[in-house]
Every structure is written in structure tokens, then in C-alpha cells.
């Protein structure tokens, strides 16, 4: 709750900065604010207080995921000073991002389906605007419109699903919905629901699943992702690929893990098919991309597929493995985007060929990119390896061996396209470009992200034990 309050307060401060004219210091204020929010959030560990008649609950799950979001947001703000400099509407951008973060926190900590809906909307509406924030760029506009239309469409599904569930159970409360299924025997069973409401319940679950699958861009609801990721400004893409995705997965998982346990076999088979399609489609299309940004967009679809494994497994390892996965994936993605932005500033585009000679030009940047790519590909000793490992072994514990084999094969394909970047960096000595000079903030960002990736790669217990 502390985090939510602090985020909203700095959001308002950012708005006020336009009036009281302290725009220059806004960056510092926001970074300090997020750092404070991170600490304040950590103070709520093991309290599990619920607010507003069980609208929201800050249990350890919520605190842990909020922590990840805040950490990534902190890194993201270091990544994107350029975004707040070029444009005239600096304070607007800050405000939109901060409110979007507040929405993410709500999505993580809801205990009531109305809050889920509110959270998603608070997160999404600023994102629609920000996707189109390169006003003169046609593709940015296209991205905004596409994102808005499809996003709104998905929200309709979600809302419809919420209504159906309410119709079936008479409640918006996650625990109550779960409780109905458990009322008599203590073991989950659909037969405990009133017979007439069972079809409504099934329908609601499927509708909500569709709505959330849009948000996490799982196949076959992924069509918006490449265009939106590609068209949006780079830093906004980074935001969507990391924070939005983390929040959406946290919301997805909380809903299904808490409320719909009575019919696990019914929906897990749908997710199973979805996961396989997502892994295959994401990986295979990523192979054929020529630009890093589009490759990351498609590979983010593949990563969504791997993360779905945690939902399908639904055992005691799921939560913690999802936490580790979102954290390591987000941080590696931030590092990759940082390097991409550096390269774009130098060469003007993000084609793989633009990365040629990077290792010669600036070995440090190349090293960080290597670590990020290794982590995304899942090669030890990086965080990405353990993230994949935990999520796969969670699925294996629930006897989804076939799924794991497909996921492992998918990761092997992943190695191919991530390594294209690595190989490109070490190629091409002929180009004698002027040296890439890094701003101190970028140096710090690159250093800290790679450090976190390596530390989590050596001691994954730091995160895994949190929710175990």
C-alpha cells in the first residue's frame, strides 16, 4: 500500500511541477520517490494487511512482485532520460508513467475483481497515450491506435468475464469465489457450485482468460504485439515488455491461483495449448527478424509462453519461479534496450548489422549485451538460466514432461537468435567508427543490470526462497 500511495503522490507532484516550475528536478524527485517506495514496500513484508474491505491485500506475493516492478521502474527511469528531454511535455510523460506504475501495483495486489479491472485500466490508458507519444511519427500513431483498439477489446472480454463470474457466484471477492468451491469438503470441486451457475462460471473463466491472454500477448492473442512494440518509442517498448508484462502475469497468476482452483484441469488444458503455440510461434518468428527491437518483441512472446508454464504447473514452486522469471527477464530486457538505444544513437537503426564491431568499439557495452543475451537465452551462470530452470522444473513436477520438452527445444531456437547479436558484435573490424562514449548514468545502468543478472545467476535462492 505504501508503494501505491507514494507512486500516486509523486504522480501528482509531477503534474504540479508544470505549475510551480521545477521541471528540472523532476527526474531526481521521481528516482528518489521510487527508491523510497521500494523501501516502504519492503517494510510491508509479512504483514498481509488488506485494505478497503478486502479490495486489496498486500501479502508477500504482492510485496515481492511490487518490489520487482519498482526495481525495474527505477532502472527504466535511468534508461530513459532522453524520452523526457526531447519532448516539450516532460511532466506529462512522467505523470503518465507514474500512474501507469500505480496501476501495475493495483494489478498485483488486488483481492477483488473490480480492483483487477481498475488496475488494468489505470495501467493501460496511460500506455495507449505513451505508445503514440512520438506525435510526428506515423508508426507511433499506428501503434497507439492498434494498442488502444485491441486493448479495449480485450478489456471488454475481461469485463464480460467478471460479470459472468459474478453471476455464477454472486461475488467479486477472490477468496469468496474460491470459498464456494471449497465450502463442504475442503477440496476444490466445481460440483459445489449451484448447477445453473456452472455454465456461467466456465464461460466467465474463459472470457477472463482471453482478456488476460491479450495483455500477456499469448498466441493466438498476440497479433498486436510486434506492431505496437515496433512502433512505440523505444523506451515505451521497454516499459511494456518489462513492467506491463510482469504486472499482467502477476494478475493472471493471482486470479487463477486463488479463485479458479476448482476447475484446474479445464482451464489448464487450454493454457497448455496456448503455451505450446506461444512458444513455437514466438521463437520461430523471432528467428526471421532483422532488427533487434522486433526480435525482442517476438522473443517476448516466447518468454510469455515459458511463463505460462508456471500457471499450468500450479504447484508450490510456481509463484517463486514466476517471480524469478519476471525479474530476470525484465532486467535483462532493460539491459538489452539500453544497449540498443546506445547503438541506435550511433548508427541510426537497430539492424543486427549495426552491432558489428561493437566489441571493438566499446568492450564494456558488448560485455553487458553478452550477459543480457545469455540471460535471455538461458545459459548459466546467468539469472535467465535459473529462471528457466525453475519454471521448467515446476512444470516437470506437475508431470507436464511433453510441455517441458517443447519449451527446452524452444529455448534452443532462442539461443540461435540471441547469439546472432552476440556474434555480430564480435564481427567486423574494418569499421573504424569513433568511440562510443557513455554517460555516467548509462554506465551505472549497464553495470547494475549485469551485476544483478550475475548475482541472481549465482544465488537464485535470494528470490526463490521469498515465496517458497
Amino acid at each position: 500500500m505504501n508503494a501505491l500511495i507514494i507512486l500516486s503522490v509523486i504522480g501528482f507532484i509531477a503534474l504540479l511541477s508544470e505549475i510551480f516550475n521545477f521541471r528540472k528536478f523532476l527526474s531526481a524527485v521521481v528516482l528518489t520517490g521510487i527508491a523510497i517506495a521500494f523501501i516502504a514496500n519492503a517494510c510491508e513484508w509479512n504483514t498481509a494487511i488488506s485494505y478497503y474491505h478486502r479490495m486489496m491485500v498486500f501479502d508477500n506475493y504482492a510485496v515481492a512482485f511490487t518490489g520487482v516492478i519498482l526495481l525495474v521502474a527505477f532502472l527504466w527511469f535511468i534508461l530513459s532520460p532522453g524520452f523526457f528531454k526531447e519532448e516539450t511535455s516532460r511532466s506529462d510523460h512522467f505523470t503518465l508513467i507514474l500512474f501507469s506504475l500505480a496501476g501495475a501495483v493495483v494489478m498485483i495486489s488486488y483481492a477483488n475483481m473490480t480492483m483487477l479491472f481498475l488496475g488494468i485500466e489505470i495501467l493501460s490508458i496511460p500506455m495507449y497515450v505513451l505508445a503514440g507519444s512520438k506525435k510526428s511519427d506515423l508508426r507511433s500513431n499506428e501503434a497507439a491506435v492498434k494498442y488502444f483498439l485491441l486493448g479495449a477489446f480485450a478489456t471488454c472480454f475481461l469485463l464480460f468475464g467478471i460479470a459472468l463470474i459474478y453471476g455464477a457466484t454472486g461475488s467479486f471477492d477472490l477468496a469468496e469465489i474460491r470459498g464456494i468451491g471449497y465450502r463442504v469438503t475442503g477440496t476444490p470441486s466445481i460440483s459445489l457450485y449451484p448447477i445453473s451457475s456452472i455454465p456461467l462460471f466456465y464461460g466467465g473463466v474463459i472470457m477472463m482468460m482471453v482478456g488476460l491472454a491479450f495483455k500477456i500477448s499469448a498466441v493466438p492473442f498476440h497479433f498486436w504485439t510486434p506492431d505496437v512494440y515496433d512502433g512505440s518509442p523505444d523506451v515505451i517498448t521497454a516499459f511494456m515488455a518489462t513492467i506491463v508484462k510482469t504486472a499482467a502475469f502477476a494478475a493472471f497468476f493471482r486470479l487463477f491461483f486463488t479463485s479458479f482452483t476448482a476447475i484446474i484441469p479445464n482451464w489448464s488444458i487450454i493454457l497448455w495449448v496456448m503455451a505450446i503455440l506461444t512458444i513455437i510461434t514466438g521463437n520461430l518468428t523471432a528467428v526471421f527478424q532483422h532488427g533487434l527491437k522486433r526480435m525482442l518483441a517476438y522473443s517476448s512472446i516466447a518468454h510469455a509462453g515459458y511463463m505460462l508454464l508456471a500457471l499450468i504447473a500450479m504447484n508450490n514452486l510456481s509463484q517463486s519461479s514466476l517471480l524469478l522469471y519476471t525479474a530476470s527477464y525484465s532486467i535483462a530486457t532493460i539491459a538489452a534496450f539500453a544497449v540498443m538505444i546506445i547503438v541506435i544513437n550511433k548508427k541510426g537503426n537497430d539492424d543486427f548489422d549495426s552491432f558489428r564491431g561493437l566489441a571493438k568499439n566499446n568492450p564494456f557495452v558488448a560485455l553487458v549485451m553478452c550477459i543480457a543475451m545469455f540471460s535471455l537465452a538461458g545459459i548459466p551462470p546467468t539469472a535467465g538460466f535459473f529462471a528457466k530452470y525453475f519454471i521448467f522444473s515446476a512444470a516437470m513436477q506437475s508431470h507436464h514432461i511433453g510441455l517441458v520438452i517443447i519449451a527446452v527445444a524452444g529455448s534452443l531456437v532462442g539461443v540461435y537468435y540471441y547469439f546472432r547479436v552476440v556474434i555480430a558484435m564480435f564481427q567486423g573490424e574494418e569499421e573504424a567508427l569513433e568511440k562510443i562514449m557513455l554517460e555516467p548514468s548509462y554506465k551505472f545502468l549497464l553495470f547494475i543490470t549485469s551485476l544483478i543478472i550475475i548475482i541472481l545467476g549465482l544465488f537464485p535462492s535470494l528470490l526463490i526462497n521469498l515465496l517458497h
Binding site: 548459466p380 551462470p381 516437470m396 520438452i405 534452443l412 539461443v415 556474434i423 537464485p460 535462492s461 526462497n465
Partner: protein
């Protein structure tokens, strides 16, 4: 404690290289690797010849998954640690006449890789084994990618994908085993040994692990990455790959495959042996027609390793002992051979056999060293190759005399292609290319002398090394016999 030092000292020294300025990198790297060798000798002198792993380290690492940092040294480990620490200084020294761009990274990667190798050879936890296994792969990938020849991008990528595929198979198998352990799951190898899975499962485990290790060695038909990679890698990379890294595969057979899936070995071992033997004959025949000396040695390496793997898989005392000894000998010999090829290439800019000739006239010392190492590689009595091959054949003969007869071809074929190579490069008349050929310089002698000493020591008095591995191997046989 000494185990930890042995694993992490190279890693720390790799990091210590980065702040150093100037031209002392080579010497510093050499110094670090020699210190590591001395440390390993200290461990070897404290080592007691019994079956139990010694110098144990056992700290919890990832508690929730039952992964411990458990490492120790038994006889087999000790032998391979000695091999690694003995070869790495020589490999570093062998680069003294080469000028590499970005030497800091080059030597740091070699030391980094050594750290991974030391970890593989001491790990007693399945997961730890896997981590070190991959840790050894990444540096060598970069060594080949950054300092390799013309085709390096394509070739190293093939190499990486192949080995990664193998490792993933191993990881899946290890995770499966992990989930089978009773109670709170663990990756401890001892727990894996006492699982007693049923026959079918063991068959699956056998193949998953065998393919993982076969890619590394490489055994026919998983060898297609090897000739290209060996040929195109920088000389030090080739030495690391052939001298030490392929031993990881054989070590894996002994450490993981046999004790975990003994029934699988019973059922399927003969197919694996047949594959190894096909590899021997096939690689020898191809080696015979090679024009590039480096490629020739690469194929001969497939033949030799095929023999080792066949011998080890027979699961007889002689076969295993011979395998251990031959691993050491092959490592020493192959590093020597690749170094001599590197010397020839540096001076003549060619490796094509037909272009060379008459080198002995201008460089008698080089020719003599080449002679000794080549004889060791062929397996002439009194050289190191003889003892190992003899024991291996004994083992294979006990298993199946026909197999022994076929794999015996390796001696004849090996002699044919090696002598032919020697004859065409060293003997005969000088030609335009070999007209001026300076003899060995000091640093080159310093590499070759220890190798030759080892060749004779092993050939004449291998007892201390045999004694070192014997209790462990006997223990292994009793574990599996149960």
C-alpha cells in the same frame, strides 16, 4: 578447502589479469597457472590412495532445490586435475611466440575455462556438475569465435549448438533423476547412485547421458562439429578442446553414466561400444587422406577417443584403468602434436602436407620432438600410449574378442597415417617453402620438454598413476555390481 582453492584460484587470477597494464600479461597468466599446478601437486601429495573422495566441500547452495556445493577429489578426479593443471601452463607457454590481439581477454578466458574444468572434475552434485560443464563451454566458445580462422562464425556456432543440445539432454536427465530421489529431493550424486531405477528408465537415462557425453568426446556419429572446430580454432583453443575438454565427456561416462544407469549400460552398452569402434575405423580412414596436418590430428583424436570410450564402456577393470591412463596420455600427446603443427604453420604459413618436407634438415630438434610425441601417440612400447592402449585392448578383449580385433586396427592405421605425415613433413628434400626453417626457441623447448618427459615417465613407470585411480575404479565396480 584445497578443492575450493583449486576451483576458484584460476577464476580469481583471470579477474586479476584485467587491471594489469603492459606486456606482462602472458608472464602473469603463466605464473598463475604454474601456481595452480603447484597447488594441485600439493593436493596430490596429501592425497591418500583410497576410494573415498577427499578434501570434501559441502555447503548448501540453493536450498529449496536441494542443490549443494559439494565437491571432492577421488582418484579419477585427481588424475584429471593433474592433467588439467599440467597442461594449462604449457598451453599458455605455447602461445608465447604468437601475438594475439586483446591478450588480456585471451588469457583470462583460458584461466576462466580452467576454473570450469576444475569444477567439472571435482563436482559431486549433479547440478553443480552441469553448471561447471557449461562454464567450461562458454570461454572456449569465445576463444574460438574471437581468435579463430576464416570460417569461425559458422563453425563455432555449430559447435556451440551441438554441445548445448548435449548439455540440455543431460540437464533433463539430471532433473528427472532429481525428481526420483526419495524424500526431500536432492541433486547429490550419491543419492543418484542409489536410486535403482527400472530397466526401461535406465535405458532412457543411459541414452540421454551418453549423447551428452558423446557430443563432447566426440563419438561417431556426433563428431561432425569436431574436425572443423579443431581446424579453425586458434592453436591454444584446439589444445584446450582436445587436450582437456574432451576428457570431460569420458569423465562424465565414469562419474555419472555408469553408476547411475548400470542396467542401461548392460542393455545398451554394446551399441555404444560399436559406435565407438565405428568411429575408430572411420576416423582413421579419413585421417589417412587428409591434406591438412591439423585436420589429420583432429581425426586421429576421434579415433583415439573412440578407443578410450569403447574400453571404458566395457566396464572391466583393465578397460577402465586403461581409459584413465590413456586420457592422460592422449591429453599430453595431442597438445604436443598440435603445438608442433602450430610451430610449423608459424614458420611456413602452411599446414598442407604435400607442401612441406625436409624440415628435419634445418630443424633436427623439432623433428626429434615430433618423433617422440608421434611414437607416443601411435603407442610404441616404452611410451605413454602403449600402456593405455594395451589395457584398453585387454578390456575390450574380455568383453568381445571380435571388437578387440576390429579396434586393434587403430594401431595399424594410426601408425600408417602418422608415419606418413611425419615422413612427408620432416623427411625428404627441402623445398621452396621449407628452405628457411629456424629450429626451436627457448619457450618452445620449455613446452615440449615436459611433454616428452611425461611420455617416457608414463611409458616406463606408470605405477603411481595406476595406483592413484585403482581403488576408486574398484569401488565403482563394486557399487555397480550390486
Amino acid at each position: 578447502m584445497i578443492t575450493l582453492i583449486l576451483i576458484f584460484f584460476p577464476l580469481l587470477s583471470a579477474l586479476a589479469l584485467f587491471p594489469v597494464k603492459g606486456k606482462n600479461i602472458k608472464i602473469l597468466a603463466l605464473a598463475f597457472s604454474i601456481i595452480e599446478f603447484i597447488l594441485c601437486l600439493v593436493a596430490a601429495f596429501q592425497f591418500e590412495n583410497n576410494a573415498m573422495p577427499q578434501f570434501m566441500v559441502d555447503v548448501p547452495w540453493i536450498v529449496s532445490l536441494g542443490i549443494n556445493f559439494k565437491a571432492g577429489i577421488d582418484g579419477i578426479s585427481m588424475l584429471l586435475l593433474l592433467l588439467t593443471t599440467f597442461l594449462v601452463p604449457l598451453i599458455i607457454l605455447s602461445s608465447f611466440q604468437n601475438e594475439y590481439k586483446n591478450p588480456k581477454l585471451f588469457y583470462a578466458l583460458i584461466l576462466f575455462m580452467q576454473s570450469g574444468l576444475m569444477g567439472v572434475f571435482t563436482a559431486l552434485d549433479g547440478f553443480l556438475f552441469y553448471i561447471f560443464w557449461e562454464m567450461a563451454l562458454i570461454p572456449i566458445y569465445f576463444i574460438c569465435l574471437l581468435w579463430g580462422g576464416q570460417e569461425r562464425i559458422r563453425i563455432t556456432f555449430k559447435f556451440f549448438i551441438y554441445t548445448l543440445l548435449g548439455s540440455l539432454l543431460m540437464l533433463v536427465a539430471l532433473t528427472y533423476l532429481y525428481l526420483q530421489t526419495p524424500g526431500k529431493h536432492t541433486f547429490d550424486l550419491l543419492a543418484f547412485y542409489s536410486l535403482h531405477l527400472d530397466r526401461t528408465t535406465q535405458g532412457w537415462i543411459f541414452w540421454a547421458l551418453f549423447i551428452a557425453f558423446a557430443v563432447k568426446m566426440p563419438v561417431f556419429p556426433f563428431h561432425t562439429w569436431q574436425p572443423d572446430t579443431y581446424t579453425d580454432a586458434p592453436p591454444q583453443g584446439t589444445m584446450l578442446l582436445s587436450g582437456i575438454m574432451l576428457k570431460m565427456g569420458i569423465y562424465g561416462l565414469v562419474r555419472l553414466l555408469m553408476p547411475i544407469a548400470p542396467l542401461g549400460l548392460q542393455d545398451w552398452g554394446y551399441i555404444a561400444i560399436i559406435l565407438s569402434i565405428i568411429g575408430i575405423v572411420y576416423a582413421s580412414c579419413i585421417a589417412f587422406v587428409q591434406k591438412d596436418v591439423k585436420r589429420l590430428i583432429a581425426y586421429s583424436s576421434i579415433a583415439h577417443v573412440g578407443l578410450i570410450s569403447a574400453g571404458v564402456l566395457t566396464f572391466t577393470l583393465q578397460g577402465l584403468q586403461g581409459g584413465m591412463l590413456q586420457m592422460f596420455s592422449h591429453g599430453v600427446n595431442v597438445v604436443g602434436l598440435f603445438f608442433i603443427i602450430d610451430i610449423i604453420q608459424k614458420r611456413t604459413n602452411t599446414r598442407t602436407i604435400t607442401d612441406l618436407g625436409g624440415i628435419r634438415l634445418s630443424a633436427p630438434l623439432l623433428a626429434s620432438f615430433f618423433m617422440v610425441i608421434m611414437l607416443g601417440s601411435i603407442g610404441l612400447p616404452l611410451t605413454n600410449g602403449f600402456i593405455g592402449e594395451f589395457l584398453l585392448f585387454t578390456g575390450i578383449f574380455q568383453y568381445n574378442p571380435i571388437f578387440a580385433a576390429i579396434s586393434g586396427l587403430t594401431i595399424i592405421l594410426g601408425a600408417v597415417y602418422m608415419l606418413k605425415a611425419y615422413q612427408n613433413t620432416m623427411l625428404g628434400e627441402k623445398n621452396r617453402i621449407t628452405a628457411i626453417f629456424p629450429d626451436l626457441v627457448l619457450s618452445e623447448k620449455l613446452v615440449l620438454i615436459p611433454i616428452v618427459i611425461m611420455i617416457f615417465w608414463f611409458g616406463i613407470y606408470p605405477k603411481p598413476f595406476l595406483q592413484m585411480t585403482e581403488p576408486t575404479i574398484k569401488n565403482l565396480i563394486t557399487i555397480i555390481g550390486k
